[in-house]
């Protein structure tokens, strides 16, 4: 290769379209959204699916049924603040609850890897049962498959949940309107950092625990606190940023956040600084946002703070008519920046 002077204009060859599934397709960010848009939605073309809510709400006779499904592939299986069992219940319960449904029934499907210790399976099942009791849901059906050693990561779980949506409740991201307030139920980033710390053997002065929790009572209390609740989202992989970017895109509105109003625990902040992560993109398993009409916002906020899983709730921003599809944030310094959707997983930075 000939050597070039600094004034030469050079660049890399753009890569061709993606021909294989990458880990980033499971990150909940832009790559995941591409999969849904390009492969799943065109295949099924269902109008309820196309709403892209955390759950589908369908009518059978006079009843409105909420349905959702989620697979859990977490490593490590046990982590501070939870395990794959409690996660498999709470994740699905929360997806139902943020749709305004009362969670009622769960199916649980296990994919077990040959050689998995029975003790591990016992502990996971026991945790699942305790979590189901706490969330007031019944496990009514299930399935077990075993794959050869090396073809699974110990244990995968899928749960499907069914709940009932009370009459008069219709929550969806596309209800969001300019002027609505954005309420967040507590500090962000705990689950993702807890998992990473455990998986990578990172040690901090205090153990960071996952926020894994069932949010069905919080959701019910939000809904009974005011008529102006437009939609709710639980914040999972992709974090606060992905949830808000999805709402901005679906409702064709802008989002304006206030950085000083978004709570992040000191330990999480410290870990994120060390790894070069932004807590707005880190996963949560026990936090939600509610988009609420301005005149109901204070009432709903008070109700959230009374619930044990919403004590640190705050109003973090507003829905706007400006910059449709874009999430912006007033920074600590009073300047404005974009809070973009991530392409794939956040990667630890080199320096």
């Amino acid at each position: 290769m000939s050597s070039k002077s600094i004034t030469d204009i050079t660049c890399a060859i753009p890569l061709p379209a993606r021909d294989t599934v990458l880990l980033g397709h499971g990150s909940g960010g832009r790559l995941s959204a591409e999969l849904v848009r390009d492969i799943f939605l065109p295949a099924f073309g269902d109008p309820e699916l196309a709403r892209l809510n955390d759950q589908a709400v369908v009518s059978i006779g006079d009843s409105r049924i909420a349905m959702t499904t989620d697979s859990f592939v977490i490593n490590p299986l046990f982590f501070p603040g939870g395990d794959i069992g409690s996660l498999a219940v709470n994740g699905t319960v929360n997806d139902l609850a943020v749709g305004g449904a009362t969670p009622l029934f769960l199916s649980v499907a296990f994919i077990l890897e040959e050689g998995l210790s029975m003790d591990v399976l016992h502990r996971v099942v026991r945790s699942l049962q305790v979590a189901a009791e706490a969330a007031n849901v019944r496990v009514v059906t299930g399935d077990t498959k075993v794959v050869e050693r090396g073809k699974g990561d110990g244990l995968f779980i899928n749960t499907t949940g069914i709940g009932l949506v009370p009459a008069g409740i219709s929550l969806s991201a596309d209800n969001a309107q300019p002027g609505d307030k954005i309420l967040l139920s507590g500090p962000v980033g705990e689950h993702g950092i807890a998992i990473l710390a455990q998986r990578e053997g990172l040690e901090f002065e205090t153990t960071i625990e996952s926020d894994c929790a069932p949010l069905h009572t919080l959701c019910a209390e939000i809904l009974s606190a005011g008529a102006g609740v437009r939609c709710m989202r639980d914040l999972t992989r992709g974090g606060l940023s992905s949830a808000l970017n999805e709402i901005a895109a679906q409702a064709k509105v802008g989002v304006e956040l206030n950085e000083t109003a978004i709570p992040v625990r000191e330990e999480v902040k410290g870990a994120c600084e060390m790894l070069g992560f932004d807590p707005l993109y880190v996963a949560n398993e026990g936090k939600l946002i509610a988009i609420v009409a301005p005149d109901s916002a204070e009432n709903v906020l008070s109700a959230m703070r009374r619930n044990r899983f919403g004590q640190q709730s705050s109003i973090i921003g507003t829905i706007t008519a400006a910059h449709v599809g874009l999430v912006t944030m007033k920074t600590l310094l009073g300047t404005t920046r974009v809070v973009d959707m991530l392409s794939g997983d956040q990667l630890p930075r080199i320096c």
């Binding site: 070039k4 050079t10 310094l333 392409s343």
Partner: protein
């Protein structure tokens, strides 16, 4: 949080911005070298706080971005060998090579592990004697000592299944190349605080004298950068030329002697290619002959792999501050972090990616 909150304090930041505005009488073009500094400027919108007479241009100090295309191609080729485990820092996995990236190689079955410390790569080699473990060792002077330490440790332990694919770049030769260019517009530099924590300030004294240009060693938080800009502007307005240290909580004049010793023990200065820029003389590090057994280039005979960067994007102009990322016709349209056309869109610390992630509203709202 100590050492963070006070450096992100809005009152202090605004007071510094006001002082900068008060002392600025004419247009000044300043460059922050390090991608971490660019990231902070964009993330906190510091350019919004500055008077319009201060123009910030973003330097080539993103180690991920400037790693040569052929190094990425070599890493991918190595990773796809059945007996090789490639170990890397996380943010290298998304960097596009000529036809693929490490994430895709991983999806094709390559054994690729992400670590937080190069010493971890040595441990992987110890624990897997049947695997040939290669560490992709990139970075500026900041990361070089830890990488040198990994090679040193491997040698101490007589490991025969460990090697490193090295692409280390040095800041002062890059500054020299920028200043020597006939198109240079830069009138003052914010030098990279973490690089100077390792190597100290001597090289920057030489540059300041040779090119009569003020240099302030700066930190990475908003208040650090505003203070560094203030110090630079004061020098420029007064016609002074010297090296000042804003980042005193980390940088000493002599730098970290232990780190410098291990660097000299393992590496020597060599010519180095920079992605998007080209070759800069004596701007990189390579293994000393005593460490040749750990040089993946030699172990795997990788020098047969070469790559040419085609001339399409304006990254060289961006890296010299001759164009802003938003001046590029492809910006945010054909060139995105998912499909980067050039080096500065690759890592979140690259100038184009920083604009894309944090400043896109400026273009959309205009």
């Amino acid at each position: 949080m100590k050492y963070l909150d006070e450096y992100r304090d809005s009152t202090i930041a605004r007071a510094l911005a006001a002082e900068i505005a008060a002392v600025t009488t004419r247009h000044w073009v300043l460059m922050e070298i390090c991608g971490g500094q660019t990231h902070t400027i964009m993330r906190y919108g510091l350019d919004e706080l500055l008077p319009s007479k201060i123009e910030l241009v973003h330097g080539p100090g993103c180690p991920v971005c400037v790693t040569p295309l052929e190094t990425i191609d070599k890493a991918i080729a190595l990773a796809l060998l059945p007996d090789v485990t490639l170990v890397s820092y996380g943010d290298m996995l998304r960097v596009p090579g000529s036809n693929s990236d490490l994430f895709r190689a991983k999806a094709q079955g390559a054994d690729i592990r992400v670590v937080y410390s190069p010493v971890e790569a040595v441990r992987i080699a110890q624990a897997n004697p049947d695997r040939k473990v290669v560490f992709l060792a990139i970075g500026f002077e900041t990361t070089a000592p830890a990488n040198a330490m990994a090679a040193w440790r491997a040698k101490q332990q007589n490991l025969t299944n460990f090697s490193m694919l090295v692409s280390h770049v040095l800041v002062p030769p890059a500054i020299r190349a920028l200043l020597a260019s006939r198109d240079n517009r830069i009138q003052g530099f914010i030098a990279p605080g973490h690089v100077c924590t390792i190597v100290g300030c001597q090289d920057y004294e030489d540059l300041a004298r040779e090119f009569s240009i003020p240099i302030v060693v700066g930190g990475f938080e908003p208040v650090d950068l505003l203070e560094a800009i203030l110090m630079l502007v004061k020098q420029l307005e007064a016609g002074d030329v010297c090296v000042e240290n804003q980042y005193v909580r980390s940088v000493t004049y002599a730098g970290n002697q232990h780190a410098q010793r291990i660097l000299k023990e393992v590496f020597e200065v060599a010519d180095q290619k920079w992605r998007g820029i080209g070759e800069i003389p004596r701007s990189g590090l390579k293994f000393r002959s005593e460490y040749a057994a750990y040089d993946a280039n030699l172990v795997f005979n990788l020098d047969v792999i070469t790559a040419d960067e085609p001339a399409e994007c304006i990254s060289a102009l961006v890296l010299q501050g001759l164009r802003k990322p938003t001046d590029c016709a492809a910006f945010a349209i054909r060139c995105t972090p998912e499909n980067p056309l050039g080096a500065p869109m690759v890592s979140s610390e690259g100038a184009c990616a920083a604009y894309y992630h944090y400043r896109r509203h400026v273009k959309e709202l205009a």
